[in-house]
Symmetry: C2
Subunit: 411 residues, 2 copies
């Protein structure tokens, strides 16, 4: 009989969870699988903007890991501190775990490019609590502004800025626009529309740059029609309390600033130094094995996959999802002594919601926009979040939103 091996998966996000799902039943029977995550749930990140905009309840976009993991899997709800690839040990807070095979999929964190004051003064949108915090601050500042006599002071308090216009920034702005300009504005008779401002500040020449130029233009127009101001080609050099300073030295004021302009891979501390890394991302082979470490697979945001331009694949859920599945299958092949497959990324299409029954999407050059794209967006994400109890909850809440205003109970 073969000796039982220990497979350790770091992170149960899109990459780690897909890798886990790719493990067949006999692996769980003959070997030991351990999943480590600092959260105790799987977070469906594409719907975070909907929680921030109070379209969905926070419960609805998470699934408890212990409900969805195999009964023989050990789950450890701790933060990963470091890894030693020589001794094959992962160190957690207060615990060391030996592994035979490792899948590293810890994802990424918000990246501020060293911008002074940004981390201190900006909210971000990466975790569930970030979304709740954004929702709460929108509700709070309206309540505060409602008690203020001066129109100028109200407008100052009701100024919001989203830095960055990738999918996270654009979708967040769309959702926040709904909450601010529809729900909250209607609830506060004293506040007028001109006192509320939401400003997207984008370093690039156009928003949602990964989309076709015509779709970017459509998205910009759509968001602007919903009272969202967009400034392209504006880089933020510094953030202070209540304002962002541009590269030109202009001070853009906003009481609430949310930074979505960058992500950087979780930089896994490696004691032995055998990982080759660049900006925290670990160089992988085409099989998703870490360079010099055949028993370590790296997937998603953490992986610097060999692409032609050397910059790796985009740090998106879609890449992590596909790489996770491939890494899981390759791990099984490796354990059975079979040949490993090279990973090839197949972009299945891009979708971005713009709030209020509007979205853009493109699949193989085929472009969609408007209500149809919005329905596609909702359907695709609804199906992708593969937990029925949550699908039912989300569907219920989306239907609810057709009839009643968004819930503004502060939590």
């Amino acid at each position: 009989m073969k000796k039982s091996k220990h497979i350790v998966i770091l992170g149960a996000g899109f990459g780690g969870y897909e890798a886990y799902k790719a493990l067949p039943q006999w692996i769980h029977k003959e070997h030991t699988v351990t999943v480590i995550d600092k959260k105790n749930h799987f977070l469906f990140t594409p719907l975070l903007p909907e929680v921030a905009g109070s379209s969905l309840d926070q419960h609805s976009i998470v699934a408890p890991l212990r409900d969805i993991l195999h009964k023989d899997t050990r789950f450890i709800n701790k933060k990963v501190v470091k890894v030693n690839t020589d001794t094959q040990i992962v160190s957690l807070e207060g615990e060391d775990i030996e592994y035979d095979y490792l899948i590293s999929a810890l994802g990424a964190e918000t990246f501020f490019y060293g911008t002074p004051g940004a981390e201190e003064h900006c909210l971000v949108l990466k975790h569930l609590e970030d979304a709740v915090a954004i929702r709460n601050i929108c509700i709070d500042v309206f309540e505060q502004a409602s008690q203020i006599e001066s129109k100028e002071e109200r407008a100052q308090l009701l100024s919001f800025m989203v830095v960055g216009a990738g999918p996270t920034g654009a979708e967040l702005a769309g959702e926040m626009g709904e909450l601010l300009f529809n729900t909250l504005l209607k609830q506060h008779p004293r506040i007028t529309r001109d006192e509320v401002s939401l400003h997207i500040v984008n370093g690039g020449p156009r928003i949602l740059q990964m989309f076709d130029e015509s779709l970017s233009a459509y998205a910009q127009k759509s968001l602007e029609q919903n009272h969202i101001r967009i400034s392209n080609n504006v880089r933020i050099n510094e953030v202070q309390e209540g304002k962002a300073i541009t590269a030109e030295g202009e001070a853009l004021t906003a009481y609430t600033i949310i930074w979505t302009a960058g992500v950087s891979a979780i930089d896994l501390t490696c004691e032995c130094g055998s990982f080759e890394k660049e900006r925290g991302r670990i160089f992988t082979k085409r099989t998703l094995q870490a360079k010099n470490n055949d028993n370590v697979f790296v997937v998603g945001d953490m992986a610097l996959f060999p692409t032609e331009d050397g910059r790796g694949l985009p740090m998106t859920a879609q890449v992590a999802h596909q790489q996770g599945e491939c890494a899981g299958n390759n791990l099984v092949a490796l354990m059975r002594g079979k040949e490993l497959k090279e990973f090839t990324y197949k972009e299945k299409g891009l979708l971005a919601s713009l709030g209020s029954f509007d979205a853009i999407g493109q699949v193989n050059g085929f472009k969609v926009k408007g209500v149809f794209a919005w329905l596609v967006w909702r359907s695709v994400y609804w199906i992708l979040f593969g937990f029925w109890r949550k699908r039912i909850a989300i569907l219920g809440e989306w239907i609810r939103n057709l009839f009643v205003p968004r819930d503004t109970s502060r939590l």
Copy 2:
């Protein structure tokens, strides 16, 4: 034309909100109504234990006040600091409000009877965030215990105590029992039933003392069958980290201690001293007007209504609800120069849920228990929470709970 008057309602709980609802349309048209609450939502407190036990989501038991108040009502989301009945001014943080008529319904807070260490070391169950905190700690200690080798240390971490066995304490224990002994225990294969303990410590001779003796006995047996230990006639004299010291000097250990043993009325600071108070409660006339202040009504937990024993009415949602309606009607009568009605409390019955399809109830000496009482309990509270969007959510979640385990995603 009559001069327009300013009606100010302090607190939008059961008492304040019912008083508000009793105001007819012409009041809103001819006069100004202001509602002040430190929360921006109405909290349906009877279902707090269900949120703590993860049977209901926290969104489901709150309703945003701005959705349910009249469009001409001014809502102020601030804490009340003090009141001056001579100048007729309510002071909030950073704002003074003049009133012509006042309805004071700020409710109560958890009361520790001066027990040393209790406030510092105990959780409570009074606000929405308390329920979420209890839910989170149950989930967290199971995750932590799952990584501990020593059975003794696990058992130490997994020990819970509820101090007090009124409706809050008993219902909380019932709900926590479901979460701990059913959902979480099943999710953590390493933890065995004997390592988890939930202990109700009750100062009185029997739990749920307001019920008939036979129902108390039934409730105790039911909770004990669900692995909950109950100690009656045990008073806690001191709380230290991880233990409660009884009047006999015995140390009862529990990693998590939740104090539900008492409430005291919010003690409204009165600058002029014209309120007569006892233990924070304001003496009222039979019309619910404050003694010496005919234009001030006091309802619910804050009101010391003249009863035969001089101890006032029970501090329950039911009393607050009925008094609120009466105070609202009496305020209208006062403004129209009509005769005010004396308040009489009609106890409509008592109900307490015990978790797992079990409850007790009594109406005019008629007693119910078991599944039937549980269905009555659910129906009554479902109807009492008068917001359709929340009723639908709650019904959906209750149905969901029949098919899937309680959600243990840490929030």
